[in-house]
């Protein structure tokens, strides 16, 4: 990297050859970026200013789609449903995952068995999980109500009940915390053991070690999980589609579902694009907020080590 002794001409041609090779290697990614990210993004923005049913040419309508969104009751409802869904699932999964990852990070016999058990629901998430929970939450014969019955509670008809469909959907989603836990687990394994040893010598209790070592040391993981969790929660589709189809009375109409309806059921591609951009701007704002909060709670490399040594 710091070779200054090589003659400049040869170095340049070597460099050039390396650069050409580099571009060739990056080519699939660059093409993918243009074809499946940047290109569609621009197209989506343009489409959001049009009316387009895929049968006749797109009509430029300016801001009409966005104005319609402002007055669209269903869109507002969809935003509320999505907000409740995200506000409950994301933090809950973070907390469960952090605690569980700590439990799973012990060197005890059979720990890999437990790791597998807790990751299993994540592996089969999607339609199969939705089918399974549909049966779990069956109003009359489902396991949930059977168990509730044992403690004397008359359970509702979950997915058919307007006030219980969203909570049931949230429970279904909480079941798949595996990836978040796994990433936490990896983060925990990266915390150098010497820090704990030093803290033990100083007589720090286990709780204090958790609060003052583990949590700050994996705060970057929390940050990563938080950002990915927010983005993920705004893209959930299979479960609500299969479990409720957005009903009853649109009580589980998450944003992607509303977008799907507009795009592929009503063929309102322009309006669907406007929904996509509105939700994208929301994600962007949320993500920026998380990034802005970064210096207040995430310990970046270096600072922690100095403090603990």
């Amino acid at each position: 990297m710091t070779t200054t002794s090589t003659p400049p001409r040869r170095r340049l041609s070597m460099r050039r050859r390396e650069a050409i090779a580099c571009y060739i290697f990056m080519a699939p990614a660059i093409l993918g970026l243009l074809l499946f990210a940047i290109g569609p993004m621009i197209a989506s923005l343009l489409l959001s200013f049009t009316e387009y049913d895929m049968l006749s040419a797109p009509q430029w309508v300016g801001l009409a789609n966005f104005q319609a969104l402002i007055g669209d009751e269903l869109f507002h409802k969809s935003l509320r449903v999505t907000a409740v869904y995200s506000l409950v699932t994301v933090p809950t999964i973070l907390v469960i995952s952090f605690i569980l990852a700590n439990l799973l990070n012990q060197k005890i016999r059979g720990i890999s068995f437990f790791r597998s058990v807790y990751y299993l629901p994540t592996v089969i998430s999607g339609v199969a999980v939705a089918m399974l929970w549909r049966w779990m939450f069956n109003g009359e014969y489902g396991l949930v109500n059977t168990l509730l019955d044992k403690i004397g509670i008359d359970g509702p008809n979950w997915f058919q009940d307007e006030s219980w469909a969203l909570p049931a959907l949230i429970v279904t989603s909480l079941w798949t915390f595996g990836s978040t836990t796994l990433i936490y687990l990896a983060g925990l394994q990266g915390v150098p053991n010497e820090i704990y040893e030093a803290a033990q010598v100083d007589g720090a209790s286990r709780l204090r070690q958790h609060l003052h070592i583990t949590m700050p040391m994996v705060s970057n993981v929390t940050f990563f999980n938080l950002v990915m969790g927010v983005i993920g929660s705004l893209q959930v589709f299979a479960e609500p589609f299969v479990l409720t189809g957005g009903g009853p009375n649109n009580s589980t109409l998450l944003l992607p579902l509303y977008l799907y309806r507009n795009a592929f059921e009503y063929l309102k591609m322009g309006y669907a694009s406007a929904i996509a951009w509105a939700s994208f701007l929301i994600v962007l704002a949320l993500t920026l907020l998380v990034f802005k909060s970064l210096p207040y709670w995430v310990h970046l490399e270096g600072s922690t080590e100095e403090r603990n040594r």
Binding site: P40, Q106, S116, M131, L132, N193, A238, S273, E301
Partner: protein
């Protein structure tokens, strides 16, 4: 914004550490151990309960499904599986799924490791900016690109074929490019230099050095890709219109509404169990790679 994410998750040589901490009184250790097993066991039972319920229903005769209180595993009725498989053209769905999933896995592995080598090891003007852009798209919600992508595939005449599901995989997946790049950064440069002295070109170095050495990371990507492609519902739902083209995920979602299966819970759960088996098998086979692959990739550092 994305540079912050990169910094927060930047590559870092992994420091292996054992979580067991020495110097504790034995009695407290035993109490902790018992408590750990108790909590993990209890949580495990709770987590697996829905699976037991699914399996139990899948093995019941129709008249026992609605019995109260439920009998968990009395006289298993294995014929349900055969019946669920024959009521729908299941082998056709399985074949479709196998075609799509295997090509998606292949495309992802080749394209991501190929691109990752460029990003990790070769220098070119603008490389890091391009890398940042690619990584930034991890955070791009798929909903934003959905409509134009669909219109594009429709324009190409790819609707109702496997192409929209398979071909994008050959253009790299940002998250896996990132994961593999982080892994390649940990491979000693001397190996490459030695190969260069022996006259190997970049392509050869990627194929004969980088790929073999990154097996754990590739296995991780493979498992993630398999599970994601196998469980993918949205793509097949919007792109595949003919029933003969359906994948298992789409077929399964229509079972309750289908006149052939209808509301027969025991058959539905049998079909769901069968649908879940491939993911579980792949996961169990590759389980040991999971944590290791993630740790080695340095995604969390």
């Amino acid at each position: 914004m994305s540079s912050d994410l990169l910094r927060a998750t930047a590559a870092h040589p992994t420091t292996g550490s054992s979580p067991s901490r020495p110097g504790r009184p034995t009695a407290r250790r035993i109490v902790r151990l018992v408590l750990s097993y108790f909590v993990l066991g209890l949580g495990g039972v709770a987590i697996l309960m829905p699976f037991f319920w699914m399996l139990s229903t899948a093995l019941k005769r129709q008249e026992d499904v609605y019995k109260f209180p439920p009998e968990w595993f009395s006289s298993p009725h294995f014929a349900n599986f055969a019946e669920a498989l024959t009521l729908v053209p299941f082998y056709k769905f399985a074949l479709n799924t196998a075609t799509v999933v295997s090509l998606v896995v292949l495309g992802t592995l080749v394209s991501c490791s190929f691109a990752a080598y460029g990003f990790a090891r070769l220098r070119a003007p603008g490389r890091d900016a391009i890398f940042l852009l690619v990584i930034a798209t991890i955070m791009l919600p798929t909903t934003v690109t959905l409509v134009p992508t669909y219109i594009m595939f429709n324009y190409l005449g790819w609707i109702n074929s496997f192409k929209p599901l398979i071909i994008p995989a050959f253009f790299g997946v940002p998250f896996y490019i990132f994961l593999l790049r982080q892994f390649y950064l940990t491979i000693p440069r001397e190996l490459e230099d030695a190969a260069r002295i022996d006259g190997a070109g970049y392509f050869r170095i990627w194929w004969t050095i980088m790929l073999p050495l990154s097996k754990p990371a590739l296995a991780t990507v493979m498992v993630f890709t398999f599970i994601a492609a196998y469980n993918d519902f949205f793509g097949p739902l919007i792109y595949l219109t003919d029933e003969s083209k359906w994948t298992i995920a789409v077929a399964l979602s229509t079972f309750t509404g289908s006149p052939r299966i209808g509301p027969q819970m025991h058959l539905l759960m049998a079909a769901t169990t069968i649908a879940a088996i491939p993911s579980i098998l792949v996961f169990l086979l590759a389980q040991r790679y999971f944590v290791r692959g993630i740790v080695l990739s340095g995604i969390t550092r």
